[in-house]
Symmetry: C2
Subunit: 369 residues, 2 copies
């Protein structure tokens, strides 16, 4: 392992809230930051240098790369070409291949399958005929998704009947698609893992996630009723992905729990919304650990501190005074203008007593509505 | 209490590490920051707008004040005139009177005495004759100090004999001085208090402080063997100061423990080095609470989370990799160039088990040397 650089200048593609929380975690470690994002005044750009240019502006990427010690990304739809261009000038972590795998749902599912990580049934769809034979494979209901650029439930259609299939094909058929079998699952979970340049790997405890309208609303960490066997299964799958990709940094894998087992849904090669609770709820946060990993520093403990519930603030910001008056609530705002469906912040409710978390959470949810 | 302002723009006089840690605590609350400091590239200026000008440049102060919602200071030797100038344009907390009291050791000790807060014996000294009669009052040994602009042990001389007194007078006599009786104390403690605009007041537990060469090296929080009566005595004294000054924000008072009682040594009308442990070691940090107070937001809980030891990094920075590999250690670097005697960062060692803190601390101290 090379000696870590003192006060590294970290370049980050994307300057959203994930970048902002990376900077907040990295400044205390003496790190410096430069962001690249097409949107001026982005959440991270409010507290660090930001280069404003499209991701395919190679001249801007060239000047962005000058003097960087390491580069990373906080947005998985960054063009792989931009990451590859940078990787010829400065180490880029996680490896651009991780970006490439995760950007295409079909490649991603195929990648999981290739490493014996179970997934719901899936099939690529390029024609209406292929859609019909895909339905034979997955049966109905099933979810038709665009292969690329989907996030927060965008670009998805649930098919219950063959008529649904034809309608969805009309609407979505101009792009490469994937059909995924709809598995009745008990709950959605995610595993966050971090791997250092030296291969050292740590895992946070599984988190239970609750979505509405395709957007994450609530994470409970550690996931309630978490068995050691379920945690071990998740860690095993994450390890295969990390090692296969020679991964460096934080990786998130979203999973479905079916019976006592897990199916992989998708992965994100970056810090992840379902890991925000780690800022107060774990010994070291996912943001600090991502930076430690990519800068060649030792990883920090992923041990949870008590029990946490993370609530996303979507579309509107509650009165900060009411949130701050709530015992155990930690407010995080991203410096974004309110807009329907937009992630504007989150609140982590942390407690040492798991028996009161549910009740406290219900009270907090009333306040933020 | 007025409605708190959303996303307030907070102006801070001074852009050192205290300002830096204020910004890191305030960004998650949606706050924005503008700093004023004569030194370019200061610790806080690396992550926020910084106006570089001397504190007596009223044109620069005028433009600094434009658009601010509230102003504060992180350096108690800011000229009172600068704070008063700002207070005619924007609310300034803590009140400039607190600055004025704390800048002059004689005024400060007189202020404590005026509110029946015990102090070591003291006397103002303007002539050699006054020094001699001051010694009659305090007896020897005693400490001769400049009344103004002393910090980290600078501008102090310990007098053991009348010869010492004459020598010290030759060296220091051109400025207004104070002689303070040297009280044999068991230990040095500090109390951090925070008071909101509505008068709500909270206290952190007393902290035990260890100095070397006049600079704080180590704080233990909560102070070991802390009795409720000692805590109550400290809170009583702090309350008198807060109420007398209609104080808003965080206040620190340094105290000597003599027997089972306390003597006030000095106060700092700002966040304080002996409160850095609160970042990981308390439910809400002193930085977040100072900002909550001055922005009219509800205060956060000051309850400690386990047991903390805060070690200052003076003059040199240890290998970050070794610190980060140390279980329970949290590194904070200030973005400053190493220089002898300079505070470059700190490490907070936090644990839930007080019985291991001493041993862990001894190991950590070996590493950082």
């Amino acid at each position: 392992m090379p000696n870590p650089i003192r006060n590294p200048l970290v370049g980050v593609l994307g300057a959203g809230q994930l970048g902002r929380m990376l900077a907040l975690a990295g400044y205390p470690l003496g790190m410096r930051f430069r962001f690249f994002d097409p949107t001026p005044g982005s959440p991270a750009g409010q507290m660090a240098e930001q280069i404003v240019a499209p991701y395919d502006d190679y001249k801007a990427l060239e000047s962005f790369s000058q003097g960087l010690d390491v580069a990373t990304y906080e947005f998985e739809n960054v063009p792989v070409e931009a990451a590859l261009f940078l990787s010829q000038r400065v180490p880029v972590y996680p490896p651009p291949q991780a970006l490439s795998v995760s950007q295409d749902r079909l490649t991603e599912k195929g990648f999981f399958a290739g490493y014996d990580i179970p997934t719901p049934p899936f099939a690529g769809v390029n024609t209406l005929d292929e859609l019909k034979s895909a339905i034979d494979k997955t049966s109905l209901p099933a979810v038709l998704k665009t292969r690329r650029f989907g996030y927060d439930g965008k670009g998805q259609s649930v098919l219950h009947t063959m008529e649904d299939a034809e309608t969805a094909w009309q609407a979505m058929g101009s792009q490469p698609l994937i059909l995924e079998g709809f598995i009745p699952f008990q709950r959605e979970l995610s595993i966050l893992a971090v791997r250092g340049i030296d291969g050292a790997t740590l895992f946070y405890p599984l988190v239970e996630n609750h979505h509405r309208d395709g957007i994450l609303r609530l994470s409970l960490a550690p996931a309630p009723n978490l068995s050691t066997s379920l945690q071990a299964e998740a860690e095993g799958y994450a390890s295969r992905v990390l090692n296969a990709l020679h991964y460096v940094g934080v990786l998130a894998i979203e999973l479905f729990q079916v019976g006592g087992h897990l199916l992989a849904n998708e992965m994100a090669p970056r810090v992840h919304n379902s890991g925000h609770w780690t800022i107060e709820g774990a010994e070291s946060s996912q943001f600090a650990n991502h930076l430690r990993a990519i800068c060649g520093l030792p990883l920090g403990s992923t041990a949870p501190l008590g029990y946490s519930a993370m609530l996303n603030l979507i579309g509107t910001i509650p009165d900060p005074a009411r949130v701050l008056a709530f015992e155990g609530a930690h407010l995080h705002l991203y410096g974004k203008e309110p807009r329907p469906g937009r992630k504007l912040g989150h609140i982590t409710l942390r407690t040492d007593d798991p028996s009161i978390l549910g009740e406290r959470l219900a009270l907090l949810q009333k306040i933020i509505k």
